[in-house]
């Protein structure tokens, strides 16, 4: 990384120049620097609406960058150790979809863990590729899905030598990493692309003592949620490409679904955040790791809670662990994660990232302060004092092995009918159902509905998880193939 060059922020600097020019706008957006929408200006501020402008010569165009955006993309690639970087404004969802759509076509196979984000499965609906799922191992005590075992991936590659790509979560929502280097090598040895979903892994590129990141492992592409640990605005993201990538083709894929009116607020936030990461990321994430470690120690001092860390590493399904992820298992206080999540929000004014049946997660970032960690630990101690129950057995598996009967695309577009959800056992689902967050489908289009899956969905719903996916809002019905 060229540190001197990284001090530049070309898009941001172009916007600053543009602001000083006081150009008279006879182009979109129609609010014209906010003058046509006084209420919006009061709410967002003049500074903000003043740079909400359209693509134009001095500001380049995200659909076909030739000047400042091109330079910002080059700097981003350099900062992340990639050959090329695309700045993305349609979320990491669009980055994941671009990886999948540019690697597999209709009828071609892609190997992926079943606990992928819905954006990956939705990409299969778009292109008609066939998923080969790897069962992630599950820690039944903690109730979390783990990484892919190398042996399982090897078996899948052997059974499907015609597969075109392998998709890897690095890390998972829970901070779990698979053996990335070995899986990337395995993919390349068998002529497959290695695609890495790093929606929760921006910091791996900058912080010390963190798990290996996609580009350093030699992956072909990686999707990076800059707006999570990277500090940019929500919805902004980055797609990284490694050696040998067909940039022209990938660019065409990106432009299939990307807006032609990309927001300069998002692009500038990526530019500024990339500069910040390049210059200060190492120290920032060292601090974040330190805070997470401290929080873990303090929380583990309170009986009944378990905030797990490096001790989980087992060389296989937990090849590495991202210590910035603060996940707390709450079973020991007799409460589900979602119950603790609700108590923290309603009674203690603390908003957590998510709660599932057994865990609650705090997202620790460069914006956190030690005194807020004290509040979290204090609130968890108080919840134990006031609300704890005898430890009960919870529905254990977060992951239910799917039986795939149709590709996601076939199931999505097939003739279907809507049935009361309990009457769908044995039928093929046309919809996905997930808790959001984390947005990992419990069932996906094309999979057989089983009692076990329905039990899981109903338990999650009953415990107050926010359920998404089906057209029927209260999940009372599910669409299945006729």
């Amino acid at each position: 990384m060229n540190l001197d060059r990284q001090r530049k922020a070309p898009v941001y600097e172009a916007l600053e120049r543009f602001r000083k020019q006081r150009v008279v706008p006879f182009d979109v957006p129609g609010h014209k620097r906010g003058r046509g929408n006084a209420e919006l200006v009061r709410f967002l501020g003049e500074q903000c609406v003043g740079i909400d402008v359209n693509s134009m010569k001095p500001l380049d165009n995200l659909c076909h960058p030739v000047s400042v955006i091109k330079e910002a993309e080059e700097l981003t690639a350099d900062a992340f150790g990639a050959e090329h970087a695309f700045l993305m404004v349609n979320g990491t969802t669009s980055a994941v979809q671009a990886m999948v759509l540019s690697s597999v076509k209709h009828g071609e196979k892609i190997i992926m863990p079943r606990n992928v984000h819905k954006s990956a499965i939705n990409a299969l609906i778009l292109c008609g590729a066939v998923p080969v799922y790897i069962d992630p191992k599950v820690d039944t005590k903690l109730g979390i899905p783990l990484g892919m075992e190398l042996a399982d991936v090897e078996a899948a590659v052997k059974a499907n030598p015609d597969a075109k790509a392998i998709l890897i979560n690095n890390p998972s929502y829970y901070g779990i990493c698979s053996n990335l280097q070995a899986i990337v090598n395995l993919a390349h040895d068998n002529g497959m692309k290695a695609l890495v979903d790093e929606a929760h892994g921006t910091h791996l590129y900058f912080g010390p003592n963190l798990p290996l990141c996609g580009m350093r492992a030699g992956a072909d592409m990686a999707a990076i949620s800059m707006h999570k640990s990277g500090g940019s605005l929500t919805q902004s993201s980055i797609l990284l490409c490694g050696k040998g990538a067909n940039i022209g083709y990938i660019s065409r894929i990106v432009n299939l679904t990307q807006t032609t009116s990309a927001s300069y607020l998002l692009i500038a936030s990526l530019d500024i955040s990339r500069r910040n990461l390049a210059l200060h990321g190492h120290d920032s994430f060292e601090k974040v790791t330190g805070m997470a470690k401290y929080a873990r120690e303090e929380i583990n001092d309170i009986p009944g809670y378990y905030a797990y860390g490096h001790e989980l590493i087992n060389g296989g399904s937990i090849y590495d662990f991202d210590e910035t992820k603060l996940v707390v298992n709450t079973r020991g206080v007799g409460l589900t994660g979602i119950e603790v999540y609700d108590l923290l929000r309603d009674e203690y004014d603390i908003q957590m990232e998510f709660g599932d049946l057994s865990n609650v997660m705090a997202y620790i970032s460069i914006g956190d302060r030690l005194q807020d960690i004290e509040r979290l630990a204090g609130a968890l101690a108080d919840i134990r004092r006031l609300y704890s129950k005898p430890e009960q057995s919870f529905f254990s598996a977060e992951y239910v092995t799917p039986i795939v009967k149709a590709t996601p695309q076939e199931a999505f577009y097939a003739e279907k009918e809507s049935l009361p959800i309990r009457e769908t056992v044995g039928r093929i689902s046309a919809e996905s159902v997930m808790c959001y967050p984390p947005g990992i489908p419990i069932i996906s289009p094309g999979e057989v509905v089983t009692e076990e899956i329905l039990d899981y969905i109903m338990t999650a719903k009953e415990k107050g998880c926010s359920m998404q996916g089906p057209e029927s809002e209260d999940i009372s019905e599910l669409q299945v193939l006729k």
């Binding site: 005194q371 004290e374 609130a379 101690a381 108080d382």
Partner: protein, 290 residues
């Protein structure tokens, strides 16, 4: 010597400020928690600000130091162990040191620099920290409390700023932790803010709501403090057993002959008689919590 047109302003709301003419600035520095400034002024003497908000002045600090200490001390029959949160200036410890039966005064203050600045510029307050019974812990208050169970007779929360770096001391977990740290007949008193301006009202309500859910006895008392918003300040009295008026023992306190400038045993009773609008807003929070 002519006075300069040199003023400090503390914004009480977006639309109201109090301005104090300055003689000079004595100190400015930043710690990991806050920016601290010390000024000298013709009217209020020396005063200290944290992030631009007045924390105390020589002219009026006696009011809250006396009110937050003597009110519970005139109620609880035998206080031996006291915890002071955020009392780094020493004013509260100074008032506590008048009581011989107190054995331990633990002061928990996260910011070392705050204590050092007070020692240098406000020796009349900071002398309270020199008492042998005082132990200072440079720590976060919530962290300190997490390890405390059935340890204190009296907890004094001297932190005034619910939005500052010690916001944790205005939360539900804080009141819960205090309850746990107190003996079965323990009392906790705390800065309750000013109820007058709309933007302060919600935090005032929230404090009462949180304390009300945790402690069986909750009363609020008042004082007149010029540098506070609207010059009007409330204190909370949360207790497991003793009622601030029914268990109040004026004769015993008067016999102590403690020299005060604000507190008297007459004023003690009057301080719990609140204006109607304050009574109403406290009552509303109690009704909602039932």
């Amino acid at each position: 010597m002519a006075e300069m047109d040199y003023w400090f302003s503390d914004m009480h709301t977006q639309n109201v400020k109090i301005s104090i003419r300055l003689a000079k600035q004595l100190f400015s520095g930043s710690s990991e928690f806050q920016r601290i400034d010390v000024f000298d002024s013709p009217e209020f003497g020396k005063f200290l600000t944290s992030d631009g908000n007045i924390i105390f002045s020589e002219k009026d600090e006696f009011t809250y130091d006396e009110m937050i200490v003597h009110v519970p001390m005139a109620v609880h029959p035998k206080v031996q162990r006291v915890l002071v949160l955020g009392g780094g200036d020493g004013g509260v410890a100074r008032e506590l040191s008048h009581y011989e039966e107190i054995k331990v005064i633990d002061v928990v203050e996260p910011d070392n620099m705050f204590v050092e600045v007070c020692k240098q510029y406000f020796p009349d307050n900071a002398c309270g920290l020199d008492d042998d019974r005082v132990h200072i812990y440079y720590q976060d208050g919530l962290k300190y409390l997490r390890k405390c169970e059935d340890m204190y007779d009296l907890i004094i929360n001297d932190v005034t700023e619910p939005l500052g770096h010690e916001a944790g001391l205005f939360t539900k977990e804080f009141y819960g932790s205090c309850y746990k740290a107190l003996h079965d007949d323990g009392i906790m008193v705390y800065q309750h803010g000013s109820p007058f301006y709309d933007e302060d009202e919600e935090s005032c309500r929230a404090m009462h709501r949180k304390a009300y859910r945790v402690f069986p006895i909750n009363r609020v008392y008042q004082a007149h403090i010029p540098t506070c918003p609207a010059g009007y300040w409330l204190f909370g009295f949360a207790s497991k057993k003793y009622h601030p008026l029914k268990d109040f023992n004026p004769d015993r306190w008067d016999e102590r002959n403690i020299k005060t400038w604000y507190y008297t045993t007459h004023l003690h009773k009057g301080a719990f008689m609140l204006p109607k609008y304050v009574e109403d807003l406290l009552q509303e929070e109690e009704d909602m919590s039932r």
